[in-house]
Symmetry: C2
Subunit: 371 residues, 2 copies
């Protein structure tokens, strides 16, 4: 691979718990702190390792909750203190990425930033590298650039990006404008999108100049923008940071960056896209975790867990073992079994999206001890 890009900074928002992966993902063991791909390291660490060739070791920022600080620093022992942005509470992705953008732009006005989720699985790193390098060149021209994934099936689990006119940008031969940004479709629509090769999956990666991103936020969410500016001004002053965070952070609007930046930018012809030719999975639920770990063989039983003791007879799906118990599966197809010390989940791939509902129900019924 080529040298790091001198004016580029990566931002990893490491926030979401991943409720659809309960009881594997927990408040104190969120998705990004698990090895879900069988790589031998956590998703967060894999994300870092993928970005480092693009940035060098000192230019990757992580935005995470105060509760995860120790775990994050343990996973990323090389991370400079100034690159760890701690949230006192979750305020969604515009606040998280916007904070990093605002602080980094104060430190380095022309910086280009790219935000990459801490909990996605990406294979074939050199193709990822190639896509990001193209996106950086597009960002240099003043666009917000995203990386769109060519669909491999008519998924209803992702938003879609419709490609518009090609862009002529040096170093980014595959760049296009984004014609529109569309929400998760129904199955019929997803099939149309899948047949029509102009649609890509939105993988939630955004690359842009920090000041361009902040300008988009200012346009759509002026109050949120003002808050970010106040935070950035105080951030690098050890004495001021604490009080300003305490005062401002809890007041910031909770809004996803898809809505505050990507959709409006697309409407105004300011959103670009380059395709990602790498394997990508957001591991959104146990169905995708099963697929990811069974190597596409439908009758396989994927097993996660270093010390798993599994006995299966005509079983397929996925079993996640975090205890030393013997687990026997007989004649269960597309099953999802997640065995942890204090909670057990049994469902099927078909119902994997409903796991979040269990988490909500556990909160409501006072059983939050297992969340």
């Amino acid at each position: 691979m080529a040298e790091p890009v001198a004016d580029f900074y990566a931002v990893i928002p490491a926030g979401g718990i991943g409720s659809r992966l309960w009881p594997l993902s927990r408040a104190d063991a969120p998705k990004f702190l698990h090895d879900l791909s069988g790589s031998g390291s956590t998703l967060l660490r894999d994300t870092w390792d993928r970005l480092e060739p693009l940035t060098g070791p000192d230019r990757i920022a992580v935005v995470t909750g105060r509760a995860h600080r120790a775990a994050v620093e343990k996973e990323l022992p090389g991370v400079p203190d100034k690159n760890v942005f701690l949230e006192s509470e979750p305020r969604d992705s515009t606040a998280a990425i916007g904070l990093a953008a605002a602080v980094l732009a104060r430190r380095e006005p022309d910086v280009i930033i790219g935000s990459f989720a801490a909990d996605h699985v990406i294979r074939v790193p050199h193709l990822f590298d190639w896509a990001v390098r193209q996106a950086i060149e597009v960002a240099r021209e003043g666009y917000v650039c995203t990386i769109g994934m060519p669909p491999t099936e008519p998924s209803i689990g992702f938003g879609y990006i419709r490609k518009g006119a090609e862009l002529i940008v040096d170093g980014a031969p595959e760049a296009s404008l984004v014609a529109s940004f569309v929400e998760k479709p129904d199955l019929e629509t997803a099939k149309e999108y899948f047949a029509d090769r102009t649609y890509l999956w939105n993988a939630g990666m955004f690359i842009s100049r920090a000041d361009v991103l902040l300008g988009e936020i200012a346009e759509q969410e002026p109050q949120l923008y003002a808050g970010l500016m106040d935070l950035a001004e105080a951030w690098d002053d050890r004495e001021q940071r604490g009080p300003v965070v305490d005062r401002i952070w809890p007041t910031l609007a909770k809004v996803a960056i898809d809505y505050s930046v990507a959709e409006p930018a697309a409407q105004r012809g300011r959103l670009a896209v380059v395709p990602g030719h790498f394997d990508w999975d957001d591991v959104g639920d146990f169905a995708s975790l099963a697929k990811l770990n069974s190597h596409g063989r439908k009758n396989d039983l994927a097993i996660l867990g270093e010390n798993a003791r599994i006995l299966s007879d005509a079983a397929s799906g996925i079993v996640v073992s975090q205890t030393d118990r013997v687990i026997s599966l007989i004649g269960v197809r597309d099953i999802v079994v997640v065995d942890t010390e204090d909670a057990l989940l049994v469902t099927t791939s078909e119902h994997a999206q409903r796991v979040k509902g269990v988490v909500d129900a556990l909160k409501l019924t006072g059983r939050g001890d297992v969340l």
Copy 2:
């Protein structure tokens, strides 16, 4: 109910582990030591309580393994020492029941004995009582008498008894001869049997004079009979019993009483039957356990476990909880989940009979620690 029957003695073979109910049933916690019916007491205790009105408290013998002695005596605190028959190892039902018959016949030559499994569920005790009292009157005439259950479905899980000519016996208006004794049929045959009202299920209950039973054993299994005689002679002599048991018991043929007594007796017109109008279930596997505990409502999720913490969404079947873990079931139909400290089973009602195969596989693969 009427008074106990003066010359009647009940024998409860409490031997089988119930491998099809693993991991609930274990070598050290066999089926008969569980409350599977929701009665609040173990199947063994329920069996005792059902028999006591027929025998009085001092005339119920239990044949069990040495390892279960303490548990059995804890469940049945009133059992006289002379009524506990300990097996040094399992030698199947002819040896178990034959031993009790031989010893009881020496103590009381005209005794009538009835053998009743320790791990069946029976509801409506006065109808059970009525069937046994009829069977005792038939046994008094020199027959081996069984209690046959009118089928409630074309089951392939039970053997069938075909009724023959009616018997004229005082006090047993429903008695018939048994025309034949047939093995577990295939589904087609089971449907024919179910349509033809002359077939009853074999519930494995046999009532006869002890000497008649021993005579049948002598006819079919002369060596086994000789061994039982030697055991009986030594049994009530504290000094002799141990050495004789050690010498003879391990040599006895392992044969089910269905084969050694019931089938040959049926062929010679010496087996009779009275119908049982009570609810009966042998709780042979988790499918029947689910049915037993869901009160026949197909969409119910039956829950066993005093401290079960279950969250279910569109789930049916059965969950057995022996831990304090939260168990979440989403969209799984006819599921069987058995959650114990060291083993977890996930299967479906359809595959419930295959659980025994898991137990065999665990033995073979050196994981007998969870059996």
